[in-house]
Symmetry: C3
Subunit: 137 residues, 3 copies
């Protein structure tokens, strides 16, 4: 079995931001020399997500608005009694999930035509990380 | 390490449809000859989901109604400015997620009594695919 | 390739309960002697979730209230025509997802500082299980 571990670092300008990381993952797969296996891509934070969807700006704006509707910014989350102000970011993380697994076939990411991988930041403007872990052979 | 890759093809009559694929996955596990490992089952589209839940028609109708409530069909998604009309299907995909991982123990899917695997189509009536990727030994 | 399989058993006092299982998973990783690999942690039921987030009681109460808002307890789910009364628990399971994958690096769970793993029970007060499946080497 082969494996490869890589960490991506993010430091967004905005509190919420959506970053296409497909190329970084494809590069890690190439570096790993794994021909058949799986890649785990997982945010190392509880206020960010990793998801697969379309690289289309209108849709990304729709997603952001929808997340704010279902997991709204509010002053009165109980979590804020700890001094935090990011209760909504925790809920957005749970809704979108912090991780995905991608299949590797013949040494390449085995994705559908429109599948792009995004890191979604919900509480940014500081240093955050995601892990790429590849196993296979 | 052993591996096996298989693609499932769907072409639903209805725009939204829920298809039990547990038997197809169990057959792929048997074909793989893997005794201990994991199976990734992942939609290759951004308007479909793969999930685990009950094979009960009433519940499936409840799920469909609930998804339409939380991620509604609407004319005014920004994404529709591209000519698409499936913004809701992208959001339903994000809510339900496009993939699952199943454990393999002693050569069989290691599922709880009521766990059944479904492919959920949110923008069907055309050819779509899911990938089954098994690794283990 | 090495592997290890372990089952966790839960029997909660309350219908809904959130249980930190991070230490049990870390112990399984130590027992497996896997240095590089992945751990799947998956509820074996369709009315429970496994998720990663903060070990903070206020946030857990926020999550519980939010889940009840988005996937409410109701008498009139179609699923209840089967004699069940847990339609909401199925929807909460779908929203939160029943599983996660954790990376193993240098023989340890490779988590961010605040990432804790929870088993979330939505229809408890009876015996339920989760599976831990580790693969790697």
């Amino acid at each position: 079995m082969k494996s490869l571990t890589k960490y991506l670092v993010f430091n967004t300008k905005n509190r919420r931001e959506y970053i296409n990381i497909t190329d970084e993952i494809a590069q890690a797969v190439a570096d790993s020399n794994v021909k058949e296996g799986m890649v785990l891509v997982s945010a190392m934070h509880i206020t960010a997500a990793v998801y697969v969807n379309d690289a289309e700006d209108g849709l990304i704006a729709d997603i952001d608005e929808w997340l704010e509707h279902l997991a709204p910014t509010r002053a009165d989350y109980r979590h804020h009694q700890t001094g935090e102000d990011n209760g909504d970011a925790h809920l957005k993380n749970l809704l979108m999930h912090h991780q995905i697994i991608l299949p590797i076939t013949n040494g390449r990411l085995d994705l559908g035509t429109w599948q792009q991988v995004y890191y979604a930041e919900f509480d940014g403007q500081r240093r955050k990380r995601a892990i790429i872990k590849i196993i296979g052979e």
